[in-house]
Amino acid sequence: MLYIHEASCISPQQTFSTIDLEHVTDPVDNKLHVAEPAYGGIPKNMLRRMGKAVRIGVGASLPLLDKISSLNGFIIGTANGGMEESILFLKQIIAYDEGVLTPGSFVQSTANATAAQLSLLTGNRGYNITHVHRGLAFENAVIDAAMMVNENKGTSYLLGGIDDISNYNYKLDYMDGWYKEEEIDGQSFYSTNSAGSIAGEGAAIFLVNDHAQNALAKVKAIKTLHSADPDLIKRAFEGFIKEQQVDLSSCIFLSGENGDSRLLPFYTSCEEILGTDITIARFKHLCGEYPTASAFALWLSCQLLNRLQMPEHMIKKHGSAKQPSSILIYNNHKNAQHSFMLIES
């Protein structure tokens, strides 16, 4: 069991510092870029070298670092790390014929740059690991964190999911059919009958440990799968609900539905087994599609189980529960990587 005590998020919406999800920022050119705050706590020499992924990861972590006295390490999930810096470094290798290369781009381009910068900033020499399993990078970070707190009682970790949009990976994924060709306006992408989604990015960071007292929420269970078969996912989802004895009458289903017609059957087949009482909500219009979007869903769950009233624009179907006590997240990345998370208050 993993307990979440603090949560922080930099996203395309107003989620950092003051939270306001009633006023939604819409995508521009089918991209939802993060709203970056002023980064007061990062030394300027570090800040000017940071790529966006590192910047938002460290920036989202700072408010949590201010609140804790003892931390045992950093566990980060990111599919791409600092992609812009990686491409810059690769271009330099070609341009200068594998000769003299600047160290900055190399240092910032590695996937573990965020966790490393956090360690340098805090002087923390504890557990420091970055999971890079593409669409399950964050989920694997969650599993790692759960194992760490269960095996090392009393320890606390900073857990995060971070990815950014780079021009390079956007173009590659666009050519591969993962982003929509037609211009998307607001939430209209949910009802388009075409392949692809809108691009997104974000950093969601959590302070986790095994203390139940005063926790915002707990990750009761998590399951990850690789499959392209909707029936297999439906059966696995059904098994997950039975195994965890989820009370669907007081639960919200937080769906990773992203407007991609190829992924929709996965989500609808899972919805079919949930019955009529459950509230079904969607979140990708807030953060866009990116490999660690499930971290945004977890941050959203922490808010919904505590202080945030579910905004109407998130609701796909109203249920009977007035005050939810649990949230069931299902996310599907690129028709291949699936995760279920059960979050309880």
Binding site: K44, N45, R48, R49, Y96, V100, L101, T102, P103, G104, V107
Partner: protein, 88 residues
């Protein structure tokens, strides 16, 4: 190239290589120290970036760290070294 023109170009290159986006060439004085609180407050990673700049743009290779310390003091010392040793 005139020394004044070289210094102006060098300041622009320093800003680009070190990503000093908050500065313009006019903000960097010729004798402002690169390192330390009284100047640009650069650090050891920046000095590596400046050595790469010298090699890429001016064809100057600095291999002796002692020599590097004398060259990477301020814009004046860097420009002076470039004028004497440039191969590009």
């Amino acid at each position: 190239m005139e020394t004044v023109e070289l210094k102006q170009q060098l300041k622009q290159q320093i800003i680009e290589f070190l990503n000093l986006t908050s500065l313009t060439p006019e903000d960097i004085k010729d004798d402002a120290p690169f390192f330390g609180a009284d100047g640009l407050e650069l650090d050891s990673i920046d000095s590596l970036e400046l050595i790469v700049l010298l090699q890429r743009v001016y064809g100057i290779s600095i291999k002796d760290p002692k020599e590097g310390r004398k060259v990477l003091v301020d814009v004046n010392t860097m420009a002076d070294y470039i004028e004497k040793h440039r191969t590009k």
